[in-house]
């Protein structure tokens, strides 16, 4: 214990320490950490707080959900995350719109590979219906509580989720001989 204590503290220290250097108080909005991407506010709630964050934003005047999508970070490209948000394989990206005053906000939530689930926001925005189905279909993220979690683009007996990075492109069995005559 005496050995582990300082070691653990030293390990835990750097991250908060660097935060303190960069920004004394991590900015929060609707209970989520905020970063900025090309002048656009980006909120990073964790998975448990995701629904509450969206709900708070809706109460804040963001009346329309213009877009729900997901990104598969399997190949681990560089991405901006605030300290304290652990990167996961999937990231669901929600764009909300406030009509008056005109304003957009982006919400990015990390979804782990081994449990790709997220609560639905269909109960808040009826327009998220098709978008969540699309994310489920093409990226394989399940939205709990969605009324109709079925495929929307692909045929209903399709296997796999095509927009995942480990889904092969153009994987169609090629037949090198002509088909035998049918009659």
């Amino acid at each position: 214990m005496p050995d582990a204590g300082p070691a653990a503290a030293a390990e835990a220290d750097p991250a908060p320490g660097t935060v303190a250097d960069a920004a004394p108080e991590p900015e929060r909005r609707a209970g989520a950490l905020v970063t900025s991407s090309l002048g656009q506010d980006v909120l990073h709630p964790d998975r448990d707080a995701y629904h509450a964050t969206i709900e708070a934003l809706k109460a804040d005047g963001f009346a329309m959900c213009t877009d729900v999508t997901a990104v598969d970070y399997l190949l681990r490209p560089a991405r901006v995350l605030p300290p304290g948000v652990a990167p996961e394989r999937f990231e669901v990206v929600v764009h909300l719109l406030s009509l008056d005053p005109p304003q957009r906000v982006r919400v990015r939530v990390q979804v782990p590979e081994d449990d790709p689930r997220l609560p639905t926001i269909w109960d808040l925005y009826a327009g998220a219906d098709f978008y969540e189905r699309e994310v489920y279909d093409l990226m394989g993220i399940v939205f709990d509580g969605h009324p109709d979690m079925t495929r929307i683009m692909m045929p209903e007996d399709w296997e796999g989720h095509p927009l995942r990075k480990d889904y092969p492109v153009g994987h169609v069995p090629v037949r090198f001989k002509a088909a035998p005559p049918t009659r």
């Binding site: 090309l38 656009q40 999508t69 991405r79 009826a126 109709d148 492109v169």
Partner: protein, 440 residues
């Protein structure tokens, strides 16, 4: 990879009999979009929602029906002639363009996106190019921005005129279809003179536009602006002020502003309810903050409003084009940032470096700094958005397309409920969906 599908409610995408449909899904299909207190969500007054399965009939409208604008399939539950439940079934035109984009270099990407909403290709190209330019942090020359505006507003005219044509056809005014195609031809001929192609132009590219406007473009545009207003007045005589047309379209397929906002409707479909949301006015891009135009809104949100808004928006587009004609500056039509723009053709003949530069740009492409951005433009159908993620290479890591038609289709159950099947045709038509944009 499919481990997650086992515990979802995965079943057929089709409209199921009531006995096999969950209560929440029934609500969606009946068009109850607002999460209201118990019981208030469904105004059971106009349609009895408690019919038994054997009293109703489920039919397919499409995907091969002339009035469904491509391959839209709408499943309806009918009682007699009255629509009780509606479910759009889509995906018949899905070609995985978002996945394709990940394999194309940034310069090739506009060839890909221009094919999505094939009736308004310039808007797709512009949304995409603006996203790439935002990540690159490059400034587009003034002239290129005005050219983009010119082409997009002409494109809005051609798209809306085609809407008037197909809407007329769907409502039984066959002659309108001929008129609409005739007027659209003027615009497509101009596009061909400028870009070489009538559709899928690949004209707006990251960094600017592909070529400068041809000699005599001003006269061509003036010719268009002289012809179209007279034709629009003819349409007004034929339809807007005509009793049969109004009785056919007024009060049909009504959607309230609250429902429209909740369902993520954008464009003329949203504005028909009175919500003045227009990306051009609310988030000005290019030079839209320097031109004067009105955002047209309706009051009722019915089929007639959606028709009337589009005919007025053609006039607004002409107003913008007049201003573009007056203010078109001289200068470059594409960025002179040699990182993005290939050297001029003449330089390649005399300079080895230019040849190498050209070769590298077209084989390796240009690298885009890591980051993510969402850009939106106001297309004839609503907010066309592009969410682009770059990993620093010369190909997008992820490109997501926010197609306005995709979201607009969600309004079908609301608009169709309680109406007749024949009204359903008018409703589908008035939404102006482009299935290339829905399925991508």
């Amino acid at each position: 990879m499919t481990s997650s599908s086992a515990d979802t409610s995965e079943h057929g995408q089709e409209l199921q009999p009531r006995s096999r449909t969950a209560e929440a899904l029934l609500e969606v299909e009946r068009g109850a979009v607002l999460r209201l207190p118990e019981g208030a969500a469904l105004d059971a007054g106009d349609v009895s929602v408690d019919d038994l399965d054997d009293e109703t009939m489920i039919i397919n409208l499409g995907p091969q029906h002339p009035s469904t604008h491509g391959v839209l399939r709408v499943m309806l539950e009918l009682k007699g002639e009255t629509v009780l439940r509606t479910k759009p079934v889509i995906g018949y035109l899905h070609t995985g363009m978002e996945k394709t984009a990940e394999d194309l270099m940034y310069a090739q990407g506009s060839t890909n996106v221009t094919r999505m909403d094939y009736l308004s290709p310039f808007f797709n190209e512009c949304a995409y190019s603006m996203a790439v330019e935002a990540l690159l942090g490059i400034e587009v020359p003034e002239r290129a921005q005005w050219i983009r505006m010119l082409m997009m507003e002409l494109n809005r005219m051609s798209s809306h005129i085609l809407f008037l044509a197909t809407n007329g056809l769907d409502m039984g005014a066959t002659s309108m279809m001929i008129y609409g195609w005739r007027e659209r031809e003027l615009l497509l001929a101009f596009f061909e003179r400028v870009t070489g192609l009538r559709m899928n132009h690949n004209y707006i590219r990251p960094g600017g536009v592909a070529a400068d406007l041809p000699d005599g473009w001003r006269d061509d545009v003036r010719d268009i602006l002289e012809v179209i207003p007279g034709r629009l007045d003819e349409y007004d005589d034929l339809f807007t002020n005509q009793t049969v047309w109004r009785q056919r379209s007024e009060g049909v397929g009504v959607i309230t502003p609250e429902q429209a906002v909740a369902l993520s409707l954008t464009g003329p479909n949203l504005r028909s309810t009175g919500v003045p949301y227009d990306v051009r006015a609310d988030f000005p891009y290019l030079k839209y903050d320097e031109v004067d135009f009105d955002v047209i809104t309706g009051t009722v949100g019915d089929v007639f409003d959606r028709y009337a808004i589009r005919i007025s928006e053609v006039r607004e587009s002409m107003k913008i084009i007049e201003q573009v004609l007056d203010r078109m500056p001289k200068g470059d039509y594409r960025s002179q940032d040699s990182k993005v723009t290939p050297p001029p053709r003449a330089r390649i003949d005399e300079s080895m470096e230019a040849l190498i530069h050209h070769f590298k740009l077209f084989t390796e492409g240009f690298a885009v700094p890591p980051g993510e951005v969402y850009t939106a433009v106001e297309s004839p159908r609503g907010e066309t958005g592009c969410y682009l993620v770059s990993d620093g290479s010369s190909r997008p890591y992820r490109m997501h397309w926010r197609g306005p038609s995709f979201a607009n289709l969600q309004a079908l159950p609301v608009m169709m409920r309680g109406g007749f099947v024949a009204d359903g045709i008018a409703v589908i038509s008035s939404l102006d969906p482009v299935l290339g944009d829905v399925d991508r």
